[in-house]
Symmetry: C2
């Protein structure tokens, strides 16, 4: 292969780093790929870091120490976060999205890759320091956003199910009380899915009374896993007192259950606080 130019290295480095977020690459790894000197690669990374900053492409961080190297973390600026979530809140605040029982039609939004990527990134950015070992979600609608959050964090996604399917193998089941209508439901997770002592970040689409979320927390207790956070796309303003506490949401929803015309969403206080920092 001919000697590789900086232009070419820039493109390849960008591709490799951004497709594996939160993973530490050693400089030696890249030196081998390109047949370049460490000093050259070090300069490459400096240029890349500045470029990512200039164009708001995310953060390139140098990690020192024995296991050191360079890692990419996707990032969305506070202004873009508010603009994105305000736009989404406006789009969702239409009476035709109101569904019986005080729910919200989100199905279309939650399977659009660009939207769930942004949501997953905003959530992940708040939990890098908590260092979760995996992201846990409950089937079905939260899966895409949870997958993208897990991708940004560089950890696996684990999916709990309503009932154990034959193809899951041996599983742990728990019963939980739905927070909204108080019926009893079952949640299950394959025994092979997680290990005792790990840390979980719970990500799901919607929280109202929080019964399902509490069920996921209880399930993690059964597995001796610590829950380091719970994050949702939409949280309802009411009930204020939910079955769990400390939950984070991107959007807060308000509606008078008898009047779809009152439906309104806004970026949550949690998001607005991030931005004020």
């Amino acid at each position: 292969m001919d000697k590789i130019k900086r232009n070419e290295r820039m493109a390849a480095l960008t591709k490799w780093l951004t497709e594996s977020p939160n993973r530490i690459f050693t400089l030696s790894h890249f030196c081998e790929q390109f047949g370049s000197a460490k000093s050259t690669l070090s300069e490459d990374i400096d240029i890349l870091r500045r470029t990512f900053e200039t164009f708001g492409l995310g953060k390139l961080e140098t990690v020192t120490g024995a296991a050191g190297g360079v890692r990419y973390r996707p990032s969305i600026s506070p202004e873009d976060t508010v603009a994105f979530l305000s736009g989404l809140a406006g789009e969702l605040s239409t009476p035709s999205r109101f569904l019986p029982g005080g729910f919200l039609y989100l199905g279309d939004i939650l399977s659009m890759h660009d939207i769930v990527t942004k949501m997953g990134t905003i959530i992940a950015e708040q939990f890098y320091d908590a260092e979760p070992d995996f992201v846990l979600t409950m089937e079905t609608k939260g899966i895409p956003v949870a997958l993208m959050a897990s991708h940004a964090l560089g950890v696996p996604l684990v999916i709990a199910r309503h009932s154990s399917k034959v193809y899951e193998g041996s599983a742990v089941h728990i019963n939980y009380v739905s927070g909204t209508d108080k019926h009893i439901d079952t949640m299950s997770l394959s025994r092979r899915a997680v290990k005792p002592g790990q840390k979980a970040l719970i990500v799901d689409d919607f929280v109202k009374a929080g019964g399902t979320a509490k069920g996921m927390c209880d399930l993690m207790t059964e597995f001796e896993v610590e829950v380091v956070g719970t994050a949702f796309v939409v949280a309802t303003e009411n009930p204020v007192k939910k079955c769990i506490s400390g939950e984070k949401a991107l959007l807060t929803m308000n509606v008078d259950a008898d009047d779809p015309g009152t439906l309104s969403l806004r970026p949550s206080d949690w998001v607005m606080e991030m931005v004020d920092k």
Copy 2:
């Protein structure tokens, strides 16, 4: 802003193009972003195309005509495709993954972002020409791979459900006969999800007798949508005659239902044919 150097443009172009696969960007769009001349951008794209080729990062294509520009399509070389699927087949061919009824434990594999990204890319590459308007999957396990296929194709993901949930709004239901044990099941899809005249690519995790897949095809008929292809992660060798025809799979699975020790998977004939081309 200072004048932007080619090094910097290379990094930003790579990020923008690769995060929105199969979308056509006009050169003018990039000229505005950088304040550069079209001839300069044109050279940038040429360098980028060669770099992507050299490092196997995917394909950068120039689209001519009024709506022309440049688009990125992820791509995995034939050799890497076979190496990836052979490795996966080996990993999955362990008796402990065998589940009662002739099923296969795939849950861990199917929620790992890097694995489903590769699977989604291999599937998408075969269906660019068919120009699907969306990817359809059936909840739950196929969602991540279907999401990544839809991302590579640059189209939305649509998810059919086992039963209509209250938060889906008005929905179309169909009954279908499970191909394996002949019980009758229900599948539903929100009325707002798709439009008559669109084209669907069906992507799911596992096909045995093909009852669910046929259900999805029937559902599309109800919506007056044409199915341009059906692709799966794993297809069982038996029954050879399935409820659908023309299905594509990445891996073929063989097992004597009474003897988990006989479980074996291999890259499918479809994959091997792609590679021979």
